[in-house]
Symmetry: C2
Subunit: 249 residues, 2 copies
Amino acid sequence: MNPVRNLVYLLAYDGTDFNGWQTQPGYRTVQETLETATATMTGGTRVRLNASGRTDAGVHAVGQVANFLTTAPYPCDAFLRAVNTRLPADVVVHRVWEAALPFDANKDAKRKLYRYVIRNAPTADPFLRKYSHHVKKKLDAAAMHRAAQHLRGRHDFHSFETEWPNRLSSVRTITHIAVNRFGDYLWLDVEADGFLYNMVRAIAGTLIEVGRGQLTESQVGEILRAEDRSKAGDTAPAEGLFLIRVTYE
Amino acid sequence: MNPVRNLVYLLAYDGTDFNGWQTQPGYRTVQETLETATATMTGGTRVRLNASGRTDAGVHAVGQVANFLTTAPYPCDAFLRAVNTRLPADVVVHRVWEAALPFDANKDAKRKLYRYVIRNAPTADPFLRKYSHHVKKKLDAAAMHRAAQHLRGRHDFHSFETEWPNRLSSVRTITHIAVNRFGDYLWLDVEADGFLYNMVRAIAGTLIEVGRGQLTESQVGEILRAEDRSKAGDTAPAEGLFLIRVTYE
């Protein structure tokens, strides 16, 4: 018997045609797709991929991280080439490396950075229609950025969480939040030590209301303190959301 | 009867699911799709769209221009909104304006700029898999740029033309040609007064051979002077090619 190794994937996926990360019988998921491709290199032995966090149906990832235990003896670069030949075109493993056995891609993640992409122009963009949320009316990005700063720091984010209560605590720490305009596109970047269900999409929906002039900047702080989901804006659609980066110590 | 107007569309399309610009019975084409959507605003009267040039199956456009004659009386911005509600998500009209009656989007085009996008990294990119050509081996972009300069100016481009002879003359003038690297992507930009069938894709395929070290820079000049398609590189795949801009006087 070969020794057990802890292998790590850095991977990207176009979430459009996936029902999210987590395996669910009868659905096409990223986890199931990757585990099936990986099993062909481990003599058919099923591995269990442990991601930094689940992403929902339709959400994309540029830099997801997942680890798994295996006794397969192949070098990491052979794993990289082989797994990619066995994957469909909407998932790619960019790197494979070996970690110490205790490494856990989920529990050891210190911070995650999500980006929400808004197309803000009168007409749609046929190339980014699956990778951005289209808002026709001109948004005030500077006001959205200022309003977003109310959410920085350690807070109870009940107001920006779907299907609460779904965790023991809704307290999280946002270490960085910014809204920037690049021509016809707005990027909302949110980096935190953890995220609640639909948290970035609820923040995006709320900040879009600020950008439209339907909410004031200080109302965003009031919504946060209300700890009431009904006070915040809509959950913005999944296609604009990307998991960009996971940071470990 | 309303007076005849000459309306112009600035439009973009994701070429993936189209069999090119030009109407062909039994195929989904950009021209047919746009003419059908436009006819709903002209009382069902068919219009004929005249583009700056045809694009082939799978080729994308960011800034295609097409004009048509109509007696429909609506303002241009009403046309813009209405046509977009009638178009599928992979074609968008970005602007509509009225031109003088003699304006011809095809004959009056002075220059067209095409961009060929190459992903140059060991792994694919799931987001740009339909919008770039993937080359795993590291390409020498600087050598490709220098080699490309042999093609600048007025030349007979027989060597970079598929299904020759398909025109009265294969003489064209390339006013600008450049290869630039942006991280894992290379952009080959070619601006000319006109293009032969598959010309940019044949140039891209040839320059990729230079980038791999299979052809020297000066051999590109020899291939041009040979006026022989068999001397040049392969026709690179359609998915990397974009019509970026059409210039009129």
